[in-house]
Amino acid sequence: MDQVLDLAGVTRRYGPRHSGVVALDGVSLGVHAGSFVAVMGATGSGKSTLLHCAAGLDRPTAGRVRLAGRDITRMREAKLTRWRRDRVGFVFQSYNLLSELTVRQNVLLPSRLGGPHPHDLDGVLASVGLGELGGRPVRELSGGQRQRVAIARALVTQPVVIFADEPTGALDPTTGGRILQLLRRAVDRDGVTVVMVTHDPVSAAWSDRLLLLRDGRIVADQPTPDAAAIADRLRAVTAGETVVAA
């Protein structure tokens, strides 16, 4: 199968060369097309840094990243931006949208920034349950509706991979479940790859593959078990035990 994402020995250090903090410590990872990967770990374990480096939002201090078939490690900023724009979708926990623009304007933002033409805008809006709200300013929407706008924006360019950073972090379980359902459907129906960082075992249970991080290293990489088992393993990893794949 195709590797959509390929990280080799990726290290990200913040601050001075020797005394700085190591957020990622030589992480290697391959992600196949059409899979749903959840990344978990305690606060400060390097989850978000991994996502940022993999998505080309940040550059590793060492190692290399291949995204959608190209080495992006040393790509020039403008070129990297276009590469990202045409192949990657993002859903963040917050600051997902431009609050003063309408739903439709937000969803069209990537294509207005020069990205691919929107594919079936009305269909995408309807599929995330926003068919009626296209003209509403985003600031008038609820948290769950906003997150659906973000997903519509990520889907409308037909990306190869969607990166999601705590997409349900600010939502109640029911609303969060609907958001995850949308991501799951993008994987199953459209063959999109999803890489999602989360704190929540119930959210992670929607994925196919579970990565656990501690101190900037991957300490477990296995098919996703159910939510209760995820919670157990997360506790074990946070406590410092080595997890053996089930």
């Binding site: 900023e77 993002f90 431009l98």
Partner: protein
């Protein structure tokens, strides 16, 4: 299309454009006033001889110089004030960068914002400038610089020229201001929260110290050296001291901040804020030192001359000299005021948190005023020092005395002007920033 980010910024943070807009309005006003004066001289029913005399006065040259000053100062100050405006948009910029806006596109969107607000600014500035130009010309006539036959006519090209200049300088200034923020990696801005924690570089402090020590050394050297070059050399003293104190400004503010603790709990809060935001506040300190230093030197040289010789200078000369100084000072005052306003408006959330923690409106305003008093006090004290170091050798060379002279009424007017500045720069934006229920501000800006 850059419209997304531009529309977002104009609707979400309209007050953050106060700085660039007031700079543009001032530039447009000065251009309209200067062009009006030139047009009035052109149209005046004067004999060839009288016209020749008028052309040979400094007035047409000065009008031209005012236009040039406006162009370069507005590029500079729009760049400074847009820096703060862009800072308010860090999150939005990171978002659009993540989903596909290149750094170049972000820079163009920011330039577009500045150019868009330049249009209403010019529309406000031109009538103000026409009014100001009339007052200036009346002053010139009253002091006998310009013959009474000259009547003020607004220039028909004032509006198009002012629009072209303000839009053009805003584009250039905003593009300069956007270079660094547009290149920040999206991940950095998405994860960064609260006030940016940047430490003052050792190099900056060292360079500042070298320049200040060098400037003072030069001043001492000039005072003991060749008298005929005092004025030329003093320019370098001024330059070294202004740049040097500018570099030292954050360090200086952190050093004087504890003085505010003498004013009780309110002062303690203010002292902590100044220390935490020394870099942001130094944006107000630099133009303040420049403007006050320059104005003090200009005015005191003239008043000392009159005091020592006992002969008053021709009011006509004074009028033209002082109006030039006033243009510089106005730009610097706008820059300083805007820095205050921007720093305060950017703290909406902090002020709301303070109110939720139990502080009243009045108490929070008192903290803001206290901060302004400390910063402006530090700026003025530094300016007096800079002016003294620059001026004393000049005074000594020209008048053979070490005692400069400033009439008490002038000093009082200066202090009054500063008090008005403190109040305008803090109370108005402070009240604006604290509109509405605190809890709403905390939630909206979260």
């Amino acid at each position: 299309m850059n419209a997304g980010l531009t529309r977002q910024a104009l609707r979400r943070h309209p007050w953050s454009f106060l700085g660039p807009m007031s700079t543009q309005a001032l530039a447009a006003a000065i251009i309209a006033g200067a062009l009006g004066t030139l047009a009035s001289i052109d149209r005046a029913p004067l004999s060839a001889a009288a016209r020749q005399v008028l052309v040979e006065t400094d007035v047409p040259d000065m009008a031209f110089i005012f236009v040039m000053i406006s162009i370069y100062l507005s590029i500079f100050i729009v760049a400074v004030t847009m820096g703060a405006t862009i800072g308010r948009q860090a999150r939005d910029i990171a978002l659009v960068r993540a989903i596909g806006a290149t750094p170049g596109r972000v820079r163009r969107a920011v330039a577009m914002q500045a150019a868009l607000v330049a249009i209403p600014a010019a529309l406000v500035g031109v009538p103000l400038g026409t009014w100001g130009g009339r007052a200036w010309l009346d002053g010139l006539i009253a002091h006998g610089v310009v013959p009474g036959e000259v009547a003020f006519h607004a220039s028909p090209v004032a509006l198009p020229v002012a629009l072209a200049v303000t839009v053009g300088t805003s584009l250039v200034g905003a593009l300069i201001a956007a270079i660094r923020p547009s290149r920040v990696r999206p991940a950095v801005a998405l994860t960064e929260t609260g006030a940016p924690k940047r430490r003052t570089g050792v190099l900056r402090t060292a360079l500042g110290l070298v320049l200040v020590v060098g400037g003072v050394g030069l001043s001492v050297f000039i005072a003991h050296g060749a008298l005929d070059q005092a004025e030329e050399l003093s320019f370098f003293t001024l330059l070294a001291l202004c740049v040097g104190t500018g570099l030292l400004a954050p360090t200086l503010l952190r050093a004087v901040a504890p003085l505010a603790r003498l004013l009780g709990p309110t002062g303690t809060l203010a002292a902590d804020n100044i220390a935490a935001r020394a870099k942001a506040f130094s944006g107000a300190l630099v133009p303040l030192i420049l403007a006050a230093g320059f104005a003090i030197i200009k005015v005191v040289m003239h008043t000392t001359a009159a005091h020592v010789s006992g002969v008053a200078e021709p009011p006509a000369d004074l009028w033209t000299e002082y109006s030039g100084t006033a243009v510089y000072t106005a730009f610097a005052a706008v820059a300083a005021l805007n820095t205050f306003a921007t720093v305060i408006l950017a703290r909406r959330r902090d002020l709301a948190v303070g109110r939720l923690a139990g502080a009243t409106h009045g108490r929070m305003l008192a903290v803001l005023i206290c901060e302004a008093v400390i910063v402006i006090g530090a700026g003025l004290t530094t300016a007096v020092g800079v002016a003294a170091a620059t001026m004393l050798p000049m005074v000594h060379a020209a008048f053979g005395t070490w005692m400069p002279w400033l009439p008490p009424s002038y000093a009082a007017a200066g202090v009054l002007g500063v008090i008005v500045m403190v109040l305008a720069g803090t109370v108005i934006p402070g009240a604006l920033a604290m509109r509405g229920p605190a809890i709403q501000t905390v939630e909206v800006d979260a």
